[in-house]
């Protein structure tokens, strides 16, 4: 590629969110030893500012959309959607972490720096159009989040979570990378559009090679999105990691991994869809079923939400199975709705669990509605949305996904998926039962009043959930417009 095309100002404009986040993250890191303060809300404010600036940058980049750095990145509606989404998740993670870090007496600057780096990696994943760039984004995001999962160094559960997340995450990455290497060998390129062109071209390599490579990459990505049967790490990690981090892991990296999933499989591997659709079909059904039925048995809320997150990954895979633009749009919408409701639900858990995350049991929600009606009401909104009750984002997400599936004649998957979501209602209802239909227990008696940042961390996702549920048109139209990925 011609050298002169490198790093024009246009490239920089399209790369703006990543730039802002990286600079801000580095700044936080360098500031920390200078300021010498173990705990300060300054770092939190700074990272929120950086994330807001990043969102601004993403929108600016969207106004000048197009390929950047000679096609390494592709800034289009799809990329911008996910970029903004992961940064919003970032903000929603910072908000409850003020209180959390103070409560656990942990350092603030490193947490926020890692968060910003991780989000930057996810932004790269969202807009990457080349497999190695995807890999680098994936690793920036993952390595930072491995550390975040074990952020409480003296907490055994957090250690274990970090270890498992690290081992299985790197394992998945290695798989993904081997697939990339095989694609490189088979097609001589790793640019997604070019790979597609080669597959469709006259000198296409035998489909079986591409198929093997695609299958290996699929396994890697399925690990990353915690789809069954590659979900084994998720429950332990989400349970052991600090709650704000669990919230982040279940929304941000997952959304970015799905962005990669969709982009690779809907562009480069679209011509061989016949090969991978059955695979995704099985994975989708397994994820929904395993997630929901395992969640029924859990008594630890974080673990339950982890299984529910596996089930929700299954729903998104249904959208991928539909293998259409409508399905892509549905997946985008769903992930946005899911990010809000899940981050919100985890924020409530973080608030309730108290110092050292003592109260994680489902019983600890007993009587929350009497002590803190606002918190309970917000959690009710999130849970209803996770169930898929109308007028919430979760409902519309599910609706769009199954609509896309039916359009692609996946009748059985739709019926099984919807029945699955009826099963899922049971375990979410258990929390509602605890909150509203019991007298306050120990955890609720110990609960501290809501701080402004925590209140915001609950109200913002609730507004988002309701907004997506009552006026889904705006987001959906954008998703529909951007689902036409450059082929």
């Amino acid at each position: 590629m011609p050298v002169s095309s490198f790093a024009s100002s246009l490239d920089m404009a399209r790369f703006l969110p990543e730039l802002i986040l990286t600079i801000a993250g580095t700044l936080l890191m360098v500031l920390d030893p200078v300021i010498h303060k173990r705990s300060s809300s300054l770092f939190g404010h700074l990272s929120i500012l950086a994330l807001l600036a990043g969102i601004g940058g993403a929108l600016y980049g969207y106004a000048h959309r197009g390929p950047a750095f000679g096609g390494l990145l592709m800034v289009d509606g799809f990329a911008t959607f996910f970029t903004v989404l992961v940064m919003v998740v970032g903000i929603l993670t910072v908000l409850p972490s003020y209180k959390f870090l103070q409560r656990e007496d942990a350092e603030t600057s490193e947490f926020h720096a890692l968060l910003l780096f991780s989000v930057a990696g996810q932004c790269i994943m969202a807009s990457a159009n080349e497999l190695i760039v995807i890999f680098i984004g994936l690793e920036i995001s993952s390595i930072a989040s491995y550390v975040m999962a074990g952020y409480l160094r003296d907490d055994k559960r957090a250690n274990e979570a970090a270890l498992k997340y690290f081992l299985l995450g790197s394992f998945a990455t290695a798989f993904f990378l081997y697939g990339v290497a095989l694609i490189y060998g088979a097609t001589g390129t790793i640019n997604l559009s070019a790979v597609r062109a080669v597959i469709l071209g006259p000198n296409a390599p035998a489909p079986v090679f591409i198929g093997v490579a695609a299958a290996i990459m699929f396994v890697g990505l399925a690990f990353k999105v915690s789809a069954a049967p590659f979900q084994i790490w998720a429950p332990d990690v989400y349970q052991g990691a600090p709650t704000p981090v669990s919230a982040f892991l279940s929304a941000g990296p997952k959304a970015a991994a799905f962005a990669v999933f969709l982009r690779i499989f809907m562009t480069a591997f679209e011509p061989i869809a016949g090969g991978w659709v059955p695979l995704v079909w099985i994975c989708a059904l397994l994820s929904m079923t395993v997630g929901n039925f395992a969640a029924l048995l859990q008594t630890n809320v974080k673990r339950m939400l982890a299984y529910s997150s596996i089930a929700h990954a299954g729903y998104v895979l249904v959208a991928l199975t539909a293998q259409s633009e409508v399905g892509t749009a549905a997946a985008m919408f769903y992930l946005a709705g899911y990010a809000f409701m899940n981050v919100g639900a985890f924020a409530v858990v973080s608030h309730l669990s108290g110092r050292g995350e003592k109260y994680q049991d489902i019983e600890s929600f007993k009587g929350l509605a009497q002590k803190q009606p606002l918190t309970a009401a917000m959690l009710t909104i999130f849970l209803l949305s996770l169930i898929g009750v109308p007028l919430t984002g979760g409902f519309f997400g599910k609706f769009y996904i199954f609509k896309a599936a039916l359009e692609s004649h996946l009748v059985w998957l739709t019926v099984l998926g919807l029945l699955n979501s009826a099963v899922a209602a049971y375990y979410y209802l258990r929390i509602l039962v605890m909150m509203y239909m019991h007298e306050p227990g120990e955890a609720v008696r110990d609960i501290e009043p809501l701080t402004p940042s925590l209140g915001l961390a609950l109200i913002l996702p609730a507004i988002g959930t309701l907004f997506l549920g009552i006026f889904p048109g705006w987001v959906l139209d954008f998703a529909g417009k951007s689902s036409n990925l450059l082929k």
Binding site: D154, L167, S170, G185, Q239
Partner: protein, 102 residues
């Protein structure tokens, strides 16, 4: 120099990769598991370089550089995590690091 066929390299890398996977799945010592992952990444590197050689492209070599750097970063973080686990539990057996199931 008699040329070594490309397929030999590919076979070697595939064997290394599968050994890595098996090590990951069957080994119980965390450090060994971790080394298995590194083995997988290096198998990938070998594949990249072989293909780059075969395709007469520079790209593949560069990819290998990236993979190496990223793998190093990952290794650092991973070792740090393993150290904290060891510090808290005094064990490196992966079966003993399992405190969470219901």
């Amino acid at each position: 120099m008699a040329e070594v066929p490309v397929s030999w390299f590919l076979t070697l890398s595939a064997v290394l990769f599968v050994l890595g996977v098996s090590g990951f799945l069957f080994r119980r010592n965390i450090i060994t598991v971790f080394m298995s992952i590194e083995l997988m990444l290096n198998a990938v590197n070998l594949t990249f370089i072989t293909f780059a050689y075969q395709l007469k492209q520079v790209n593949g070599h560069l990819f290998a550089f990236f993979v190496m750097v990223v793998a190093a970063a990952e290794a650092t973080v991973g070792l740090a995590i393993i150290l904290t686990v060891f510090k808290n539990r005094s064990t490196l057996n992966i079966d003993d690091v399992n405190s969470m199931k219901n």
